[in-house]
């Protein structure tokens, strides 16, 4: 009797499992569709990588091969001359690199500190002016003074023209990051911890620095990485605010190189004397682009999860 029960039970369990497996299997896309999607995405990924591939390959092609055969998928003749020329003494690229690195490091620290503090206050339900300061930052997402006013205010009124400050200060605070960081505090720092710290007699600043900060490090990383990318890739602020080559960042320097070359090429016949062959060569320019984007592409896969978090948290209404 009891063995029969057991058998019956085992049979039922098996049937149940099978049914479950069946339903799960049925709710997956078919293998053929899956194959189709894979092919589709492989093509898509090739198209994504392709432009960067062309830059990288042409930067390690010899100049003569590039002028003779044009841009190709694989170099007709290898050469790393462009890179050795790039980092010779007194190269504009060295100045640009130095400025960009200083700006990125300083700006990143500044954004983490300012955004971290601002959004902590906004995340506290007992902050009396919470609504006001939330609106104060949110409003900047909706309305701005426009480029002309910005141009004049930053250059002349704030006096940022031709300074390294221009390369990071305008980008070190954003209402968007405040939303990300506030949501982060609210979701990953338990209220009870803050409450108990308070009961133990800790002041607000001390609670933030000693209790909350260690818990909020992934949030800081997210804000810091977005800020770092923004400053590294900044073109517009440098274009608007800085006029002197001493204070150009990477993006603007390589933009200028391309632009100057086009100008010279177009006017070479008119100016007569300029020999186009002596201008910074094409491989050299491609090498500039490679060293500009290289560090980001190398570092990005390691930090991807923070970027994903930042982009998704910001989409939550608040």
């Amino acid at each position: 009797m009891s063995t029969l029960d057991k058998k019956e039970a085992r049979r039922l369990l098996k049937a149940e499992k099978q049914a479950e497996k069946h339903s799960l299997a049925r709710n997956l896309i078919s293998r053929r569709t899956n194959l189709f999607f894979n092919i589709l995405l492989i093509i898509f990924c090739i198209l994504i990588v392709f432009p960067l591939w062309i830059i990288a390959i042409s930067s390690i092609t010899s100049e003569t091969a590039l002028t003779t055969y044009g841009y190709r998928l694989w170099p007709m003749e290898f050469s790393v001359n462009a890179y050795t020329y790039l980092f010779r003494d007194g190269s504009i690229m060295i100045t640009a690199y130095k400025n960009t690195i200083i700006a990125t490091l300083t700006g990143t620290v500044l954004s983490v500190v300012t955004v971290g503090l601002y959004s902590y206050a906004l995340s506290r339900p007992d902050f009396r002016f919470r609504k006001f300061f939330t609106f104060f930052s949110f409003f900047t997402m909706l309305f701005g003074g426009g480029m002309v006013s910005y141009y004049n205010m930053t250059r002349s009124v704030l006096g940022l023209k031709d300074t390294v400050w221009a390369l990071f200060l305008p980008m070190s605070f954003s209402a968007y990051w405040v939303i990300i960081m506030r949501t982060f505090y609210q979701s990953s720092v338990p209220e009870a911890i803050i409450e108990s710290a308070r009961i133990d007699g800790s002041g607000e600043w001390r609670t933030l620095l000693q209790i909350v900060c260690p818990l909020a490090i992934p949030g800081f990383a997210t804000v810091g990485l977005f800020s770092a990318i923004g400053i590294w890739n900044d073109f517009r602020n440098c274009l608007l605010i800085n006029d002197s080559a001493k204070f150009f960042n990477l993006q603007y320097t390589i933009y200028q190189t391309m632009n100057n070359l086009r100008f010279l090429k177009e006017n070479a016949s008119r100016m007569g004397g300029v020999n186009v062959a002596n201008l910074p060569a094409e491989t050299f320019r491609m090498a500039m682009a490679v060293v500009t984007v290289g560090p980001i592409i190398m570092a990005y896969p390691f930090f991807q999860k923070y970027f994903v978090k930042g982009l998704t948290v910001g989409a939550v209404k608040g």
Binding site: Y71, F133, T292, V293
Partner: protein, 330 residues
């Protein structure tokens, strides 16, 4: 009525729960650095919007001037000229609006379809690990600056570029892309797809993975195909996210991706008709320092962008809130 009324807990005294002034002072001190940066770079330029109604003339400050700064003094001293700056822009307005709004609408529509598509495909894939690799690659262009894209584009479409090499080997004449307008709307569209599809899909993917699995099981038991599940389960649930992101996009419809429109054409003058958006126009105006009142004209363009953008976002949000309250942004 003998039932005892349930006792509602008394609300705590509001001020008691907010702590003393010391706590409030601590919070205020925390927001100060951020407030300073917002004031400097977001609020300070706002009053400058009146440039749009001024005939800007550089005026040197005197001893008695309110502001000793040349720009601020000129801003105040310059005479008002009504809507003259706007009428000056009128001749270029159709081209500018067509380019700016046209490209933005195109990017929005194509963008949503591709981004949602990519998110759904990645979510449905049987091989989870490779799906992740695909996504990592698709997300990458988001971190590549437009200036580097400009270089890549040059390597592909310049006279000796890759496409022309392929063309030559197939026996075609090389094409001068940088001086032929008809290619550029497509180049911008492709560049935009290239850069933003992976990034845009992240939000949709995160939303998708949060959906209740039971709905899909129920659907599949009732015999819904994968396509029907997408159409009747996924899409309706995804709608609030899509709508919210589109509201934000509508608010920016008069702002182009300045870096892209400004850098990709590589300064080619013959392309101006199809590459000049309001942003680019305002910048070009701004740089014509020698032209009289160019700041005023540029200011009019900027005013149009800011104010119309602001109104648009409020109106869209209002309409959405009226019909679908939970889809509204604020």
């Amino acid at each position: 009525m003998s039932a005892v009324k349930p006792v509602t807990p008394k609300r705590k005294n509001r001020h008691a729960s907010q702590g003393g002034w010391k706590r409030q002072a601590a919070y205020v001190s925390m927001v100060i650095p951020g407030v300073v940066l917002l004031l400097m770079f977001s609020y300070l330029p706002m009053p400058g919007i009146i440039l749009a109604f001024k005939s800007y003339q550089m005026t040197m400050p005197t001893e008695t001037s309110l502001f000793q700064n040349v720009f601020l003094n000129s801003l105040i001293a310059s005479s008002w000229n009504g809507i003259n700056n706007f009428t000056y822009l009128l001749k270029d307005a159709p081209m500018l609006i067509r380019n700016t709004v046209g490209y933005n609408l195109l990017f929005m529509v194509v963008g949503v379809i591709l981004q949602v598509g990519l998110a759904v495909i990645i979510n449905e894939m049987r091989n989870r690990k490779t799906a992740k690799v695909y996504h990592t690659i698709a997300f990458m262009p988001y971190f590549v600056s437009w200036i580097v894209v400009m270089y890549a584009l040059y390597a592909m479409i310049s006279f000796s570029g890759f496409f022309n090499q392929v063309g030559i080997s197939l026996g075609h004449e090389p094409i001068k892309y940088y001086s032929q307008k008809q290619y550029w709307p497509w180049i911008f569209l492709l560049a935009n797809i290239w850069k933003y599809t992976g990034q845009g899909s992240i939000i949709y993917l995160a939303t998708l993975t949060g959906f209740d699995e039971q709905l899909y099981e129920a659907g599949s038991i009732d015999g819904a195909s994968k396509w029907q599940q997408f159409r009747y389960i996924t899409l309706p649930q995804l709608m609030p996210t899509i709508v919210m992101l589109q509201i934000l996009a509508v608010g920016r419809i008069f702002n182009g991706d300045f870096d892209m429109f400004y850098s990709l054409p590589n300064g080619s003058g013959t392309l101006r008709q199809v590459t000049t958006t309001i942003d680019v126009y305002v910048y070009d105006m701004l740089k014509k320092g020698n032209l009289r009142n160019s700041f005023g004209y540029a200011g009019a363009g900027a005013f149009f962008q800011s104010v119309v953008g602001f109104v648009l976002i409020l109106v869209t949000n209002f309409i959405v809130r009226k019909h679908q309250p939970d889809m509204a942004l604020f």
